[in-house]
């Protein structure tokens, strides 16, 4: 229609203005065609031109340990600061981002949590083809580069190494990533504050967990699992220093250790067995076997179908058990001080990791008191009542009450960690030693971080006759726990202990909202892979 109209118009009469317009358009088209052919020619010439930097870039052949190449001096990204203006060096890392524009290519190289900007510009050593190649390396590929560290006048805000950049001379791809990634590292590491302007793309929890290998590459995740390793290391170091011995307990057991419900059954040759839900029995047996102070770090299984933010079906248990002389507070103080020492160790030695996590997840620093605050259960109940909560003297703390009490304690004492001592006997397992002065209470304790229970422990009954009496009182079939009772028949020192879940402690220390964030490959009722 439009064309027809134009034809009609042009056929009828061509005004002066119209003619001018047409001429202009024709000229423009001509110019366009000219430049296009020029670019094409140029490109052809470029591609065919002698590549001045051939051999300085490319896909490296699969490393099969053919050459040692020991002359290559590799430097870690976070140590680059001391190599500025000191000649060529090698760096291996991942391509975080890369963009080429004309004769330049900016590439951000990532090594764990550290990033550095690399630059390739067409020049004597670097050819156009090399720049183009560098610009096309897929994100997350592993590359080796040879480069010079050069200081920059303006801080590079997007990298952790802000004062320098790498001027690349050679670049080889060691392992290429797929061009399409299921999630972008940038999206996965975006800070979680809602008021942020600009892109607000999030990666949801399931996508993260499905592609855990990629997800774990974010700076926050790198920091979380380093800190988690720190928790285990500190736990081991602190206890070893106090004369504890690490033991390893079996995970396949014949009978349920606690209660009997919520254990996983596995086939065991012609019979069936269970997965251990607590190493408690074995810890106690080690005490009866004169090991005096023991701890164990290992997997614990709970077949509880609870899909909450703080339950896993498999987690790492850090358990300890200790014989004492006369009063279980000897143990209580040991455990409490171990926690304080762990918190102090994390505060002092892992501040970089904590900061790194804080950049993605905004949370308040963990606060604690030294020595740890110990409150009586009855005091806790009194605090709750004062706040207007109806709760019985012998009633267990419900989850909301537990959280409220955590907030009240925080408001009064400004601590995220506290111990509640002397729980009512009625709500504790049968092997808990009753309080000698008040039979409604027991020699048991819970420890809390940010208002959530992390440890539950008690003085255990070490007298077999009394144990049978207590078991009967709880209506437990004593024939089923005969082996447990039997282990106290040959003399056993008074002892107490407790256990914590590593993932939960890390989650609460960092103030994260989901335990799946602190388990590398979490197992819950709905997830068995990866």
């Amino acid at each position: 229609m439009v064309e027809d109209k134009e034809n009609v118009e042009s056929g009828e009469q061509v005004s002066k203005k119209g003619a001018k317009k047409l001429a202009k358009a024709a000229k423009k088209a001509e110019l366009k065609a000219e430049t296009a052919t020029a670019i094409a020619a140029n490109n052809a010439a470029g591609d065919n031109a002698v590549d001045t930097s051939a051999g300085r870039y490319g896909l490296s052949e699969m490393i099969q340990s053919k050459d040692k190449l020991t002359e290559r001096n590799f430097v870690a990204v976070h140590e680059l600061g001391s190599h500025v203006e000191k000649g060529l060096l090698w760096v291996r890392g991942r391509v975080h981002t890369s963009r080429s524009k004309g004769k330049q290519c900016f590439l951000i190289l990532r090594q764990q949590s550290s990033t550095v900007q690399c630059i390739l510009a067409v020049g004597d050593i670097i050819s156009k083809q090399m720049v183009k190649f560098a610009g096309n390396i897929p994100k997350e590929s592993i590359i080796d580069i040879q480069a010079k560290a050069v200081s920059v006048p303006i801080k590079i805000e997007s990298c952790t190494e802000q004062t320098l950049e790498l001027s690349v001379e050679q670049i080889f791809v060691i392992s290429q990533a797929k061009a399409q990634l299921p999630l972008q590292i940038e999206d996965a590491s975006r800070p979680e504050n809602a008021d942020d302007e600009g892109l607000n793309i999030r990666v949801n929890q399931d996508t993260r967990l499905d592609n855990r290998v990629l997800d774990l590459r974010t700076p926050a995740n790198q920091a979380i699992f380093r800190l988690e390793a720190g928790v285990c290391r500190l736990f081991r170091d602190i206890l070893t220093e106090q004369g504890f011995i690490e033991i390893h307990t079996p995970k396949i057991i014949s009978a349920a250790s606690e209660g009997g419900a919520n254990v996983f059954t596995v086939s065991y040759f012609k019979d069936s067995a269970y997965l251990a839900q607590s190493p408690q029995l074995y810890k106690q047996m080690a005490i009866a076997a004169d090991f005096d102070k023991v701890y164990t770090v290992g997997a614990v299984f709970r077949a509880e179908d609870s899909n909450t933010h703080r339950h896993l079906t498999e987690f790492v248990g850090l358990d300890l058990e200790m014989a004492f002389k006369y009063h279980y507070h000897e143990v209580l103080h040991t455990i409490g001080n171990t926690f304080t020492a762990i918190f102090k160790g994390l505060r002092d030695k892992y501040s970089r990791e904590i900061e790194s996590v804080g950049q993605q997840y905004k949370v308040d620093a963990f606060k604690f008191l030294e020595p740890p605050l110990i409150l009586q259960f009855s005091e806790g109940v009194a605090m709750l009542r004062e706040a207007g909560v109806e709760t019985g003297d012998e009633e267990d703390l419900s989850t909301p009450n537990e959280k409220l009490l955590g907030r009240l304690v925080k408001a009064k004492y400004d601590t995220d960690f506290y111990i509640l001592d002397k729980f009512p006997l009625a709500i504790r397992p049968f092997y808990t030693m009753p309080d000698p002065s008040n039979s409604t209470y027991s020699n048991s304790y819970d420890m809390f971080m940010r208002g959530e229970e992390i440890l539950s422990g008690a003085q255990r009954i070490h007298d077999p006759e009394y144990l049978i009496e207590r078991a009967k009182h709880h209506g437990i079939d004593t024939t089923k726990i005969a082996a447990y009772i039997e282990s106290f028949r040959y003399g056993c020192p008074p002892h107490a202990g407790g256990g914590i879940g590593m993932e939960r402690v890390v989650m609460l220390y960092l103030g994260l909202d989901n335990i799946r964030k602190t388990s590398m490959f979490p197992r819950d009722p709905k997830r068995l892979t990866p």
């Binding site: 918190f343 963990f366 030294e370 005091e379 408001a411 009064k412 004492y413």
Partner: protein, 331 residues
């Protein structure tokens, strides 16, 4: 809560003789017995009233009810009533009450109400209003501003009242320094006497600006400043040191206010000026009298906290006072 100051001195109020005293019902400790005694009394009244009316009714046949003769006879009859019949009547009343009590007990059991008596937060003891569940208090202090008053009070009240202090270090403090450690050690030296009335104090070394006191986060606001903590402890402490009822109350408050200002002074000159003010208030052996009071504790601990004030800055009177105070506070 604050007790209000008494505006008038305590006069001996002369009551007119035409009035009779009512028994203070709430003074009796056990609420159940008090209610029963009250109901007993009312029941008795009711009983006698009904009897009286019934006796009137029985005499309705007599034409003039207000016959003086009849009234006289009636009074004589009542007066003649021997003690035996009164005792019988009382026994009858007690029996009826017992029946009522068991009946009520049955109703209560049927409703399933727990048997606990109502808990009162306040109760009268020795005629004085006293908080029964005294809150454990938390004091946050910076190691650079050590609340010496706590130690002083602990020493001074040794024989009267136990200030049970537990010290903690908050995670915001990496190191508390030697002075605070020494202070802790001094605290621990004083034996805890559980037989005395006591208050539990949690002292937390924390990176905070002011010395602050928290008793209950849900019910009360924090109290700021060491001097105000002294005031609080002065209220809950032993009766000998409660100063609100004393005529020297205003004087003590004034001295404590000067201490508060003294601790805020930033220049030495201002501090010396405050010390001069203190000197003016020291008229007797101690601040505001011949007895040691919380004011002396306030001044003494404040002076320790300001090391720039040396003996040179103090007047002879203050120096002499300081010696006396030191004997009691032992700092």
């Amino acid at each position: 809560m604050y007790e209000l100051k008494t505006l008038l001195p305590q006069f001996d109020i002369k009551l007119p003789t035409c009035m009779y005293n009512l028994k203070n019902v709430s003074l009796s400790a056990d609420p159940t017995t008090s209610t029963s005694s009250v109901s007993c009394a009312s029941f008795g009244l009711f009983q006698s009233a009904s009897e009286f009316s019934s006796s009137i009714n029985s005499r309705k046949s007599i034409p003039c009810a207000l016959d003086l003769d009849f009234l006289g006879r009636q009074i004589q009859h009542l007066l003649k009533d021997d003690t035996v019949s009164v005792a019988i009547r009382q026994d009858k009343i007690i029996q009826q009450l017992q029946g009522l009590k068991t009946q009520l007990g049955k109703i209560r059991a049927g409703l399933g109400i727990c048997g606990k008596t109502v808990q009162h937060t306040t109760a009268f003891q020795n005629g004085r209003l006293k908080e029964v569940p005294l809150q454990d208090i938390v004091i946050n202090g910076h190691p650079n501003f050590i609340p010496y008053a706590l130690l002083a009070l602990k020493n001074v009240w040794r024989a009267l009242y136990t200030v049970n202090v537990k010290t903690f270090t908050h995670s915001t403090m990496a190191d508390i320094g030697p002075a605070a450690r020494e202070f802790e050690a001094e605290m621990d030296k004083i034996p805890v006497n559980n037989a005395l009335p006591n208050i539990n104090v949690t002292l937390i070394w924390k990176n905070c600006e002011h010395t602050e006191m928290i008793s209950s986060p849900t019910m009360y606001l924090p109290i700021y400043g060491e001097v105000n903590v002294i005031r609080y402890l002065g209220r809950v402490g032993p009766a000998e040191y409660r100063y609100e009822g004393s005529p020297l109350c205003n004087e003590i408050d004034l001295v404590l206010d000067i201490c508060y200002q003294l601790l805020r002074c930033s220049t030495h000159k201002a501090q010396v000026a405050m010390v001069r003010l203190l000197d003016q208030r020291l008229k007797q052996q101690y601040f505001g009298g011949s007895q040691m009071s919380v004011a002396d504790i306030g001044v003494h601990s404040s002076l320790i906290r300001i090391p720039t004030i040396t003996d040179k800055d103090l007047t002879p009177a203050l120096l002499a006072w300081r010696k006396r105070a030191k004997l009691v506070t032992q700092i």
